[in-house]
């Protein structure tokens, strides 16, 4: 009797293992959450300092076109207009996603609907390889191949939004493709069977049934691609020209938020205005990624496939 009572009251080995595993999980999650909170707090406090300590007008920052944090304008306000960078960041992001989406979609359809196992087996590593190439390599190729090519065709220096778009196109392609493949594969088999039973051929099924059912997923894929393009720094910095000017054309040098950050952060002193405005740029980036995230959640909720 005693023995049985003991057995029931002491923790078994399995229970202890369970507790141990749970503790590790909580510890890791806690660490990650603390890390995220720290990062958010740090960027926000630094980014806001521009407006609270240096008394920069927030509209002057968001809508101004003159960027020269080291000097002041005629009214004695520091020249920290970030609009050219915001516009450029958006332009390269939207253009890259717009160019990449048709290619990515074609590849996704091919992989999930048309090619058999063999085709997928071949294409999958190709796409994964594209993800694995470091961004500095993309930038270097852009600098040595794409920029001279654009210079030859369009004149000018070759640096600019077009070069950035082409480099980013290759970089977001795998993201959009693989996420699209997942959403196409998630379309239930019964939909395809029903479509076939109604006499639709393969193309009609893909176009009228599968693509439409998977549309929210594909949209999510595109937004993830855009988030990646928006945040990419190094490769873009190498080909965009880094001139804080309102972009006049696709082949005139411009500067994105991220490229400005990587170029300038080492040359400024913590706590001074030129450094604080860089944190404000980082804050804009943070808000944008938050926005992209919320958008993805919203779309996901609206359009999940009901089985």
């Amino acid at each position: 009797m005693k023995e049985i009572q003991n057995k029931l009251l002491t923790k078994s080995k399995a229970t202890r293992e369970d507790h141990f595993g749970r503790a590790i999980c909580y510890l890791c999650i806690g660490l990650i959450i603390a890390l995220v909170v720290c990062i958010l707090y740090f960027i926000t406090s630094r980014g806001i300092a521009t407006f609270t300590q240096n008394h920069v007008n927030i509209w002057g920052f968001l809508a101004g076109t003159n960027w020269n944090p080291g000097s002041v304008d005629a009214h004695g306000n520091p020249e920290v207009g970030a609009l050219p960078m915001i516009v450029t960041s958006f332009s390269v992001t939207v253009l890259a996603a717009a160019v990449a989406t048709p290619f990515a979609l074609a590849m996704a359809i091919f992989m999930s609907e048309i090619a058999g196992k063999k085709g997928t087996k071949f294409l999958q590593p190709v796409i994964e390889l594209l993800v694995g190439i470091p961004s500095v390599v993309y930038g270097f190729i852009g600098l040595s191949v794409i920029v001279p090519l654009i210079r030859k065709i369009f004149g000018g220096t070759g640096f600019g939004i077009l070069a950035g778009t082409i480099v980013l196109f290759v970089m977001v392609l795998p993201t959009i493709t693989s996420l699209s493949v997942d959403s196409l594969r998630a379309v239930p088999l019964s939909y395809r069977q029903a479509s076939a039973a109604l006499g639709a051929n393969r193309w009609q099924t893909i176009y009228k049934v599968i693509l439409r059912t998977a549309a929210p997923g594909i949209l999510t894929a595109v937004i993830f691609g855009m988030a990646r393009a928006f945040g990419e720094a190094l490769a873009v910095q190498m080909v965009i020209g880094n001139a804080v000017l309102m972009p006049k054309s696709l082949v005139s040098p411009a500067s994105t938020l991220t490229s400005k950050l990587t170029t300038d952060v080492g040359n400024t002193v913590m706590g001074t205005l030129p450094n604080n405005v860089l944190w404000s740029l980082a804050l804009i980036l943070l808000f944008m990624s938050l926005f992209f995230n919320l958008l993805v959640r919203f779309i996901g909720k609206k359009g999940s496939i009901k089985k």
């Binding site: 040098p253 952060v265 913590m270």
Partner: protein, 299 residues
């Protein structure tokens, strides 16, 4: 599927390990450099990427002779170097510019050690058809008044100005010597000598400026007022565009750090390594420059 699971577990473990070791080594090095540098012989030097290769090489040689001293050299830029040394986070802050000329730095707390001189020359694409220029013309080009090479005696080609990142030491030096307070035209900005060299060599009509050690056959260095950009001309200040490479310490340098800085200034480094790496030895200078840019004869 199973294989994938194993892979992802391994990856996770690796990532966690990397994070943990990363934290560990970080805290260790910051402890070492702030408090124990004089006892344990640990020195961290952070800052200017232009000076980094020289300090790294010198540190390597120095550590060969002094096995107990451990020197870490990092880049990050002159601004980072100055602010880190001011905060006491590192023992030495490397900078291309005087601490006095960087806003936000209290230069009275820092002690300057000049370890080398670097000359800079305007460079153009070989296509421009110019090899001499006056200082006034150079200023006009960089302020955007002159936009075609034919206006300064070259061929009919648009000038593409390639500048350095705002706040970088190289740009500060160049603007002090050439622009005399005027504002540079808005243009492309690149953040390294290597990229500038590549862009100028491949873009017709491009102009920028480079440290002497980056001059080669792919770009054309310009003479200014018929003075050629050579070490000898920098040493007697005929060539005006040059600056010191500084290694700053917070207060007077102590024990290991002082020894290392002394070594940087020794004949061993100045007569061989400094020249080999394309800098000009501080011992050869016949003039000296102060933080305001006044040049006097060296003592």
């Amino acid at each position: 599927m199973k294989k994938r699971n194993i892979f992802s577990t391994l990856l996770m473990l690796g990532a966690v390990g990397a994070v943990l070791t990363g934290c560990g080594s970080n805290s260790a090095s910051s402890n070492g450099s702030s408090s124990a540098s004089d006892h344990a012989g640990k020195i961290t030097a952070v800052g200017s990427t232009a000076l980094q290769p020289l300090v790294e090489k010198a540190a390597g040689q120095f550590q060969n002779d002094n096995k107990k001293i451990n020197i870490t050299v990092q880049g990050g830029g002159s601004g980072t170097g100055l602010s880190q040394v001011q905060d006491g986070a590192v023992a030495i802050g490397n900078s291309d510019i005087f601490a006095e000329s960087k806003p936000g730095i209290d230069s009275s707390k820092l002690v300057d050690h000049k370890v080398a001189v670097v000359g800079m020359a305007p460079v153009v694409n070989k296509d421009a058809g110019v090899d001499n220029i006056t200082m006034a013309q150079l200023k006009d080009i960089f302020t955007g008044k002159v936009t075609n090479w034919k206006e300064v005696g070259g061929k009919d080609e648009k000038i593409t100005v390639v500048n350095r990142a705002e706040g970088s030491g190289t740009r500060a030096t160049f603007e002090d010597a050439v622009l005399s307070g005027a504002k540079a035209v808005k243009s492309q900005e690149q953040d390294s000598n290597g990229t500038v060299q590549k862009i100028v060599s491949s873009t017709p009509g491009a102009i920028s400026y480079l440290a002497f050690s980056y001059l080669n056959d792919s770009v054309k260095p310009l003479s200014i007022d018929k003075v050629k950009p050579t070490d000898a001309n920098v040493e007697n200040n005929k060539w005006k565009i040059w600056s010191y490479e500084h290694m700053y310490t917070k207060g007077k340098a102590k024990t290991a750090t002082a020894d290392f800085l002394k070594y940087m200034n020794s004949k061993d480094v100045q007569d061989s390594l400094v020249k080999k790496m394309g800098y000009i030895s501080i011992h050869n200078m016949k003039v000296q420059k102060d933080a305001k840019g006044n040049v006097t004869d060296a003592k």
